[in-house]
Amino acid sequence: MLAKFLDTIRARITRPLQYYQDICVRCGACIDACHFYVASGSPAHIPAYRMMLVKKLLQQPNHGWKGRGILGWYRETGMADERMVTELRQALWECTGCRRCSVFCPFDLDTALMVNVGRYALLQEGMGMEMAAEIGNAEVSKGEIIDALREFYVDQVRELEGRIREEWGVSDLRIPVDEPARVLYVPVVGEHAIIPLAKIFYAAQESWSLSLFTATNHSFFVGDIEKAKQAAHWIVEEARRLGVQVIAYAECGHATRTLLNFWDHWFGDEISGIQRVSVVQLVAAYLKEGRIRVREGAFDGPMTYHDPCNLGRNAGIYEEPRLLIRAVATDFRELTPNRELNWCCGGGGGMIAEPGMLEVRMKAGQPKVEQIQRTGARWVVTTCENCKTQLADLSERYGLGVEVRGVVDLIADALV
């Protein structure tokens, strides 16, 4: 049982994973970190338990086996029985990869890395988020058929451009696609990720181009790093073709993390000389340099900011969103805790793409709901597409009555 799973994991144990498996003292400091465990109370959601499950299975002598013996008892090696498989699926799929547990762990042990590798291994057994994997595949193959899609895409963008010109009453606003420029802006799916930036870039008189691709990378969610690289590589090629100096990713957590932290490893020299930023950093720089101006106090009412795990503790972008919010809000209230100790919204890790996970993520969002309620905020602002969807769903489910916004659309609305 689980032979493919175990072979895949064995082949993918890297140095950090080996440290983690060996040194975890099972002290339980990570228990209270995980919103899944806090909401469900089931052991499979305890961060260290997730690692232990995999470790137990790895220690089985030759996969199928009989008789545990004294060493087996002592090491708590486990049999891959039904119950264990159920727990394993729970442990590996019901994790948002938020790494809050790593902040709690006295060894900074990265459970999410184990989960990421474990997910890929589970997929080899046909157990898991097939939908997210499929979207990941589509993101990879998009690059191969991009020439066929280009014309259709450009038409759509032109239509959008027309609408913004009309709404704003500016006839020279453009949405350049596939043109040489200084900044390559990589959106997420949907015009809500394009409209605010079209306005801001126009106001800042930036030389920019809209990417033909999207920042999201579902292969990363399911731990398929080879495919994650391929999907991202289309953007590298595009950036080089257009000769851009800056790649700016839309408000999207996991993609921004890969852009900032993984691309050096993935692409090395290929991306040398190209600056990589979150669009939030770019817009904050415009504001600081006076390239754009905003109406102070444009949002009059209590507003709070949710640090997306992947922008906050996983990429270190804490100040820029706050700078932007303070520029337009009258009553900014921090969540407690915030920054690297902020609670995950419960919607990350590709779960949004998986309709069957709705109930799981609604439950895992409970700590977030309480946090938001305590602020009394009317607007919840964040900088991640997944978080936005999840927070809006939570607001509806728990009757929070908050409006969820992205930082850049606040700025776009407040431009003068």
Binding site: I13, T14, Y19, I31, Y37, P43, E76
Partner: protein, 237 residues
């Protein structure tokens, strides 16, 4: 019984030392053989410079300040236990040699040396032992029981056993330090000397349990002693 005592006194200590150092080398080799981290797995905020990150990891490792922030009770238990352990280890230098330099500096005679050692040793031992019982009790409490495996109990009982046999010698006997010196010098030079009589029957058990600890040490979770800083550097890469 006598045979067993003989083995623990003169034969197994050599094995324990070999297994301890060999095991640690094997452990590090096993880590080193694996492919390196697939990407920067940093947690933020983190210091900018490489040196800053190393210092941050070391400070966190020795103070456990990250744990203090999220779980003060566990921090207290863990930190005091490790601190006591450190003091106890330092104190054991006296079993092999002595703090000649320190005594000279303080200009202390035999009486004062012994009095100081008795007080300091008892405090260190207490700091080490009391938290061990707390850590043991935790193992049955709340969600920690889901995480507890036999190894965890084994380690805690082993350390408690070492501590109690140690206390037996400290509180119920007056150990002649010269006798200890002679015994260990004998082991080191393969010219065996008698087991210290003044330490009483607990000595051989204490000594045997420490050897068991040394043999176990590299192969279980106690490898967190060396793995700790490595793992912390991964999170600051």
């Amino acid at each position: 019984m006598a045979t067993l005592a003989f083995l623990f006194a003169y034969i197994t200590p050599y094995m324990a030392v070999v297994v301890f150092f060999g095991g640690l080398a094997y452990r590090v080799f096993r880590w080193w053989r694996k492919p390196p981290a697939p990407a920067h797995l940093s947690l933020f905020p983190r210091p900018q410079s490489r040196l800053g990150r190393l210092l941050d990891a070391l400070v966190d490792m020795f103070t456990l300040k990250g744990l203090l922030r999220v779980n003060p009770l566990l921090w207290a238990g863990g930190f005091i236990m490790h601190l006591g352990l450190l003091f106890v280890l330092v104190g054991h230098i006296r079993a092999f040699t002595d703090f000649y330099f320190l005594w000279k500096l303080l200009n202390w005679g035999k009486e004062q040396q012994h009095a100081f050692s008795a007080v300091a040793g008892t405090i260190a031992g207490t700091l080490f032992t009391i938290p061990l019982f707390y850590l043991l009790a935790r193992r049955w409490s709340g969600a920690v029981k889901w995480l507890s495996v036999p190894e965890d109990f084994f380690v805690l009982f082993l350390l408690i056993g070492i501590a109690l046999t140690g206390f037996h010698m400290r509180l119920l006997r007056t150990v002649e330090i010269e006798e200890l010196h002679r015994f260990f010098a004998g082991l080191a030079s393969f010219r065996w000397q008698p087991v210290p009589k003044s330490a009483g029957p607990a000595f051989i058990w204490h000594f045997a349990l420490v050897q068991l600890l040394m043999v176990y040490f590299p192969f279980g979770k106690l490898s967190h002693t060396i793995g700790s800083v490595l793992s912390k550097m991964v999170a600051r890469s």
